[in-house]
């Protein structure tokens, strides 16, 4: 089983809502790997994608606590779902006249883009799952990475099921061996 869990939440755009979310994960002893927030198709509603490590505790418990926040409409654990998951990264790499073409080749192989060129560096933009972003980053490190910015994961279920999967029954959620 995957130890990284992807929780997707729809939240009301109220002041401080992100603080509530972050505070909840801290209080329940979870480390957040990444968190991405943005508007949705519905006005006043934002979508929060949180990646947490299940090694730090019972994800189902924190999902329920998350869902209990008054500003939060729904939280789904998409880990076991069929999803599209993407992350975007900007990588500023040192580039000289000698290395620039080699960097461009690597960028091409990864279907990434160079979005800024300066005398001594380029900015590479890459979108993909975390493995892809991570591999590109590792390759570019050889040239000297000056800055790295990653958005954290965004995720969406495949198919026409709407923004979040149909709710599972309480019993399914609780199917868990007795200690």
């Amino acid at each position: 089983m995957n130890s990284k869990h992807v929780l997707v939440a729809l939240v009301q755009d109220e002041p401080g809502v992100l603080n509530r979310v972050a505070s909840l994960f801290r209080r329940r002893g979870f480390n957040i790997d990444s968190i991405a927030v943005g508007h949705t198709e519905t006005p006043r509603t934002s979508r929060v994608t949180v990646v947490v490590d299940s090694g730090t505790g019972d994800v189902e418990q924190v999902r329920k606590q998350f869902e209990k926040l008054v500003d939060v409409t729904k939280v789904s654990d998409l880990t076991e779902e069929s999803i599209v998951a993407r992350e975007l990264a900007l990588i500023k790499v040192k580039a000289t006249a000698f290395t620039r073409s080699e960097i461009m080749q690597i960028v091409d192989i990864f279907r990434a883009n160079i979005v800024d060129v300066a005398a001594d560096s380029v900015i590479v933009e890459v979108t993909g799952d975390e493995d892809k972003v991570e591999s590109l980053y590792q390759l570019l490190r050889g040239f000297g990475v000056k800055e790295l910015a990653r958005t954290g994961r965004l995720a969406m279920t495949r198919g026409g099921l709407g923004p979040l999967p149909v709710e599972e029954t309480e019993a399914q959620r609780l199917k868990k061996p007795r200690p």
Binding site: V11, Q12, P15, G16, E67, V70, V72, K74, T169, K176
Partner: protein, 573 residues
């Protein structure tokens, strides 16, 4: 209608049925205080410390089931509320706390008496609000009361900047609430209810564990029906005390660390455990991996996050206990489980935990029992935290809901006196006894002044053992009697009471306990009794920390000999 923010707030409170506000003024709430006289139906009770305001609002809420309201100024006023808010949060008590905040232009500037109280209370409130314009107040008040009192109740804090109190806005009180993220589930899932019924009907050694959720949802009748129909023994958590009449033949007292041995034994033997509105706190379960090892668990709770949190559950039902039991009881077969009940009854005979040993000394258990006898159980008992709390739980038979009020989850010493005041304000016709520890009493005894100012007839029994008793007990049992930081000097409480104008007596002899209690009850106003109880008395049974429920320690042999014409209440079955 155009009103000022402070007026809108008061209009909202009136529409929410608020009658009492426990508060303490200061700069940022002055505009609100200035407005209060326009609303004579809102009774303001001036406490002596904001912690007292929060505990009093909590005591009021627990005694009445209504939302308790407390009010404080910004900065130190707001932070003083924190302990009381945390206590209400852990024990699911409905509360609305209102705090003043510095004016909007000063927020974030470290202004005089500015603290981020919404940030501070984020993890100890059900929800909180920083109101930024007067036109939001009506909606926020409506939502706050709705959130505090529905679903799993809890405290909601409203922080209002000083200038918002004086800003004008059009007032109309909203009819509806729009909270898409808040939809408590009340009805249990029918298939789950059927499953639970099948499990219960097939059980041979079922047990019910009733918690505070039963009292919150007013499900006492439904609980009784379930127990009687299926003939199931009932134990309660500390906060579930009173949810099932303790003089009932099927009542087997409290479970847990200081629970009755027979209750804990019954948990160990049960094949089906029906948990109603309780959250498997570690004081109730003891070592959780060995809790109810033979039982298949049905858990009915309104909060989905409580299900499966500490104990894994075979049949979870998310819903309001009253509603769910209403449906479940229809599916329950009339049962007779005489063998099982006799079995538990036998344990009760073998382990007479509620007997008080014969002694010339003034035993605290005897004091509690005497209050029980003098009031015939018809009183509201508000306790401190520690030994006094456990004796109050063990040696009094609670027959009605909301008769036992105690800080369980937070275990906040100092709760007793202000919470007793709040309970008495909420229930003026009840006899309210505050059973205090001398440690806890010294934490909030300034509220004696509030009690006098409000002429509130609270009866106060200080279990004066000269120690932080419960901690001393742990030192005795687990730290080789190394009494560090627990011997406790105290003032002359009779003189203290006298200084406040409260009649008081000191009781050092067993033979005058009853007459002192009678004297207290005969007095119209407040009364204080300083009971100089046996200093090194321990609370038993006790499950040592880290042990399982089955590993309880009982009182040393000589301590369990029967006594004193104690009359166990007649059963009403």
């Amino acid at each position: 209608m155009r009103l000022k923010g402070a007026q809108i707030l008061c209009e909202g409170l009136l529409r929410e049925g608020v009658e009492v506000i426990f508060g303490f003024p200061g700069g940022t709430v002055l505009p609100l205080y200035d407005t209060l006289p326009q609303y004579p139906k809102l009774r303001h009770i001036l406490v002596r410390h904001e912690q007292g305001a929060a505990h009093a609002a909590d005591g009021y809420a627990r005694a009445t089931g209504k939302v308790g309201v407390c009010l404080a100024t910004s900065g130190p006023g707001a932070t003083n509320l924190v302990t009381g808010i945390a206590g209400a949060h852990l024990d699911s008590s409905p509360m609305v706390a209102i705090t003043g905040q510095v004016a909007r232009a000063f927020i974030g500037k470290d202004a005089f008496q500015e603290v981020d109280i919404t940030g501070i209370t984020l993890p100890i409130t059900k929800h909180n609000y920083l109101v930024t314009k007067a036109s939001d107040i009506a909606r926020v008040v409506k939502e706050a009361f709705y959130l505090a009192s529905t679903g799993r109740p809890g405290p909601v804090l409203i922080d209002i900047p000083r200038d918002v109190f004086v800003e004008e806005a059009e007032f109309s009180y909203p009819e509806n609430i729009d909270l898409p993220g808040y939809k408590p589930t009340l009805m249990g899932h029918p298939a789950q209810i059927k499953k639970a019924a099948r499990l219960i009907n097939g059980a041979s050694r079922p047990i019910i564990v009733a918690g505070r959720g039963v009292t919150i949802s007013d499900a006492n009748t439904e609980l009784k029906e379930l127990a009687e129909k299926a003939q199931i023994p009932v134990v309660t958590t500390l906060l579930g005390i009173g949810s099932f009449p303790e003089d009932h033949v099927l009542s087997f007292g409290m479970l847990g660390m200081h629970g009755m041995a027979y209750a804990n034994l019954a948990i160990g033997a049960a094949d089906v455990l029906i948990a109603l509105g309780m959250r498997f706190d570690d004081r109730a379960t003891a070592r959780v991996s060995d809790f109810a090892p033979r039982a298949r668990v049905v858990h009915i709770d309104i909060d989905p996050a409580e299900i499966g949190k500490n104990v894994s559950v075979e049949v979870p039902i998310v819903g309001d206990v009253k509603t769910v039991l209403g449906a479940l009881n229809k599916e329950i077969a009339v049962g007779s489980r005489l063998d099982w009940i006799r079995h538990v009854e036998q344990w009760r005979h073998e382990h007479p935990c509620v007997l008080i040993r014969e002694s010339e000394k003034l035993l605290p258990q005897y004091v509690v029992r005497s209050i029980y006898e003098a009031t015939r159980g018809n009183a509201v008992i508000v306790t401190g935290v520690g030994q006094n709390q456990m004796w109050a739980a063990q040696h009094f038979w609670y027959t009605k809901p909301r008769g036992f009020i105690s800080s369980g989850g937070l275990g906040a010493m100092g709760f007793e006196l202000p919470a007793a005041l709040g309970a008495q304000i909420g229930c003026p016709r009840e006899t309210v006894w505050c059973i205090a520890g001398d440690g806890g009493f010294q934490m909030t005894m300034q509220e004696l002044a509030t009690i006098v100012q409000e002429n509130s007839p609270v009866k106060i029994a200080i279990m004066n053992n000269g120690f932080l008793g419960m901690v001393r007990q742990w030192q005795e049992l687990f730290y080789k009697r190394n009494y560090v930081g627990t011997p406790l000097w105290g003032p002359d409480y009779v003189k203290i009471a006298d200084a406040y104008g409260i009649p008081a007596v000191r009781v050092t002899q067993k033979d005058v306990v009853r007459s002192a209690i009678k004297q207290a009850m005969a007095s119209d106003g407040p009364f204080l009794i300083d009971f100089s109880v046996e200093p090194e008395e321990n609370v038993y049974p006790m499950v040592p920390p880290g042990a399982s429920l089955a590993e309880y320690m009982e009182a040393p042999q000589e301590c369990v000999a029967p006594v004193d014409s104690v009359t166990l209440p007649a059963s009403n079955l």
